[in-house]
């Protein structure tokens, strides 16, 4: 279920769900307008149900092909997490638990914006040195925002943060990376989105991230550049050169 349809889907499903059944979000985005995380939407619509999120470096096509992968189930009550872990794991899919719902959810959503940036770098053929730098800067800034929003820094260094970000940025099957790559090759966003039959959450998340960065007072140069591309203020080429401005790449010390 894409983020735009989660609330209405939950409302429609509500009469048919037994009390106390946990609701697991697989959606990687925020609700437009409210900027709510998906488990916050679940708690609002189904307040008596435990809300959880399943997230990690999980390119669906690889899991469908039977390849090994690791995922994380995050919910505040670790007894519920353990029960869900038993249900969800199987074959070569390993499932780990984490109590940091906020951190897991934010990493999964914000990494899609970085994947668009990485895709643009790929489309512009600027090399792996630059792609690696974009991923590094991207993880640093989404960690800053995530911690400001109540997530734990360690979560962003784990499978649901760095792991998911890298998988999405390097996999040719990532829709968000594909959007960026086609932008980098000169296609218009309208044409790209019109030709895709699946949702690229990163485009909407770029708008949300802009608002969240503003609300929490966090500087997010990579995401802000993608926001400006999505809103038409910058061309992908200009965004790339903006990402290379010195102020965005100062090292500690």
């Amino acid at each position: 279920v894409p983020s735009v349809a989660v609330r209405e889907t939950l409302e429609a499903a509500k009469p048919f769900i037994h009390p106390w059944i946990p609701i697991v979000s697989l959606t990687k985005g925020f609700e437009a307008g409210s900027l709510a995380r998906m488990t916050q939407v679940i708690k609002e619509v189904l307040p008596s149900h435990p809300a959880a999120v399943l997230t990690g470096p999980n390119i669906a096509r690889e899991i469908l092909a039977g390849q090994a992968a690791a995922s994380v189930i995050a919910t505040e009550d670790l007894a519920v997490a353990s029960a869900l872990q038993q249900v969800l794991r199987g074959g070569l899919l390993r499932v780990y638990t984490n109590h940091d719902v906020v951190g897991c959810e934010i990493g999964g959503a914000l990494k899609n914006v970085v994947a668009i940036a990485c895709g643009i770098a790929q489309g512009l053929q600027v090399g792996d040195n630059t792609r690696a730098a974009v991923m590094t800067r991207g993880l640093a800034e989404l960690t800053r925002l995530g911690v400001a929003m109540g997530g734990e820094a360690a979560t962003f260094a784990g499978l649901t943060g760095m792991g998911d970000l890298i998988a999405t940025c390097i996999s040719p099957y990532s829709r968000n990376r594909q959007v960026g790559e086609r932008l980098g090759r000169g296609e218009s966003l309208e044409d790209i989105l019109g030709s895709m039959n699946m949702v690229a959450e990163g485009v909407k998340t770029a708008l949300t991230t802009h608002d969240l960065a503003d609300r929490y007072g966090v500087d997010m140069p990579v995401s802000e550049s993608i926001y400006q591309v999505v809103t038409g203020e910058l061309s992908p080429d200009e965004a790339y050169w903006g990402l290379r401005r010195p102020g965005h790449e100062a090292e500690p010390g």
Copy 2:
């Protein structure tokens, strides 16, 4: 200069180097036996010279091709670092400064072992989900060792840690990744090294990392698996399955 030849090269050059001239290491490895970092070797052979390290996500072939890249010059005296920054930067190569010599040097060396692990995953065609997980686990464990050795955690999250690790793991031009990829496809280490005319430091660094992990009491499952492949105790296929053991992938919480 490969790590094995740094001390003798410095000894040979010593009579010809003016006093106080800074010595910059571009070598990403440790000295065999002493387990010394390259700037430690510089300080031993040329004690009156400032020792620095230049490191970052810098696949040489891309820089030679004129593509943009960012690098870091690390030395204890930031005045010296700034002077070197002016000398080294140019064109599309940006150079940042860092005072954390230990962290910069360790990240640059240890990432080559993770690159071999990633190459094995590539050679075994296990998918991008797994490659992303190996990079994430690899950075976590080399950060643990690096902090135990006196480096700063923030350094490992930056260009010289995560950035260099990702570039080396994803670039088809990385020698260490190539070694892993050919191991994963079933070639013997002897044949691979015999066919390369450049040094793959990661093979030697896998031996050093095993000793350093032991000395500092740090658990390093990814690097240890590569050590066992390099020493012939495990096949690449066995190492891959070992990397997927649950004990190696517990999430926080």
